[in-house]
Symmetry: D2
Subunit: 148 residues, 4 copies
């Protein structure tokens, strides 16, 4: 079990985000884990489990959508902003097999004062299985002990 990696954000913000991710009920339910947090980026993953399958025996789109959402949302959090998902689009490029890890790589493309725009790629191994683009509405700053 790999520990989550901090690629350069404030250590207190890193700890804050991890702590919240570990406690979020739906993250626990689905098995969403944090792999990496860095400036404007985040990597989250889910280990495929039988209960993630759809009728065709591949990973249900809802699991992939959730991973897209949380990858972008965590990338947004690395900016120190408290934000909620306003909307996102997810495109399913190919089936995601029921094996190994599903990895979501989220990136902030533009961090505005009101809206943060982000993208995510969802990968199975080296293969991109889905791409996503979303808008996050800023509602404040994360209170992690920063003096600002």
């Amino acid at each position: 079990m790999m520990e989550p990696v901090n690629r350069g954000i404030d250590q207190r913000l890193f700890a804050y985000i991890l702590d919240h991710n570990n406690k979020a009920p739906f993250y626990v339910e689905l098995g969403v884990k944090t792999r990496m947090l860095g400036p404007d980026c985040a990597e989250m993953f889910i280990t495929a489990q039988p209960q993630h399958a759809n009728q065709m025996g591949i990973i249900h789109g809802g699991v992939i959508s959730t991973l897209a959402d949380v990858s972008m949302a965590n990338a947004v959090r690395t900016t120190g902003r408290l934000a909620v998902t306003a909307d996102y689009t997810v495109s399913f490029l190919c089936p995601a097999p029921m094996e190994g890890e599903l990895v979501g790589r989220g990136s902030v493309i533009k961090a505005g004062g009101k809206i943060v725009f982000a993208r995510a790629d969802i990968l199975c191994g080296d293969k991109i299985v889905a791409i996503s683009q979303g808008a996050f509405s800023v509602i404040g700053n994360i209170d992690y002990g920063n003096e600002q």
Copy 2:
């Protein structure tokens, strides 16, 4: 516990869709149930459970996205087409509280030979908490005993 209602599709297609929904692992995992199937429309629901919550104590967007996806996908199935989600957009209008039922109403807007376009509204009581729009790629017909 209400039984799913057939508002006018072929009874064998109705039985086929229900049977598949009841067996789909991720539907079972999340508690996705079928309420109604009719021509070009479907109503699906989830009873809010503690494990559906996000860090803020409201229903996680991934639950809502999944309900949007399955509401549209089931509306698509009522056309007799076998299809996979190509992409969809979901917009989160307001927080969905952790109580009662979250209902997804999917409608086919245009059923093409290659792509079926659909919309969904997600409701908590009378309030629309999310709206969605998606494209479904047709891969064949559902084999439910229809002679055609």
Copy 3:
């Protein structure tokens, strides 16, 4: 030539929106006209012209996208909010022929303080040729002489 209809918004707001629409250079360039403004809704149209065609001799998606955007944006304006398009999705259901009028019907689905969510249908005659869903970022109130 039909006059734009006011279906129930403040007459000064109606006049303000019309005046701005008439002066907007890209509206003039494309031939975008206002047909109706009402509470939370707007109807805009474009008369198909040869220069709107794509390589296949049907109306270019960019014309349809623009009409979707302006239909939603004008519906948003009827709420008195000054807002800019944050994002929108447009789905092309079928080809739009080079004849008659292309009509966009925009509706506000949720008018929040920060973001307004809207939908639009684009029609050729009775046929829906495109559907759209968007988010508009509120930057203030329209100053049309309202005392509030």
Copy 4:
């Protein structure tokens, strides 16, 4: 005036796409030009003109949306597939000023047999002003003299 650059696609396909772009009425109307075509990618541009402005004196979203659509559509064409836009999402990161060139960089992310998925970035100078993601429905192959 720079000539369009071929970064590695079949010369006949390159000539075919350019010829069609030069003749497309809405491209001519808006001033859409081809800068580069390569394997799975395309760069298109528009020189900002006064008629492209919205009411606020910046480039109208419809111009940006059109550039996003054509950048992705031309990237799709470099695969030799004949396709139509099924849907796309465009997010407006910041205002696009009325000066210089607006450049759209489209990339194919996944070229399937039925649907091609693409992304685009829209730039003013070095600044990304919009991002886009779309699905294109394959209707055949481009007949440019290829033996296959």
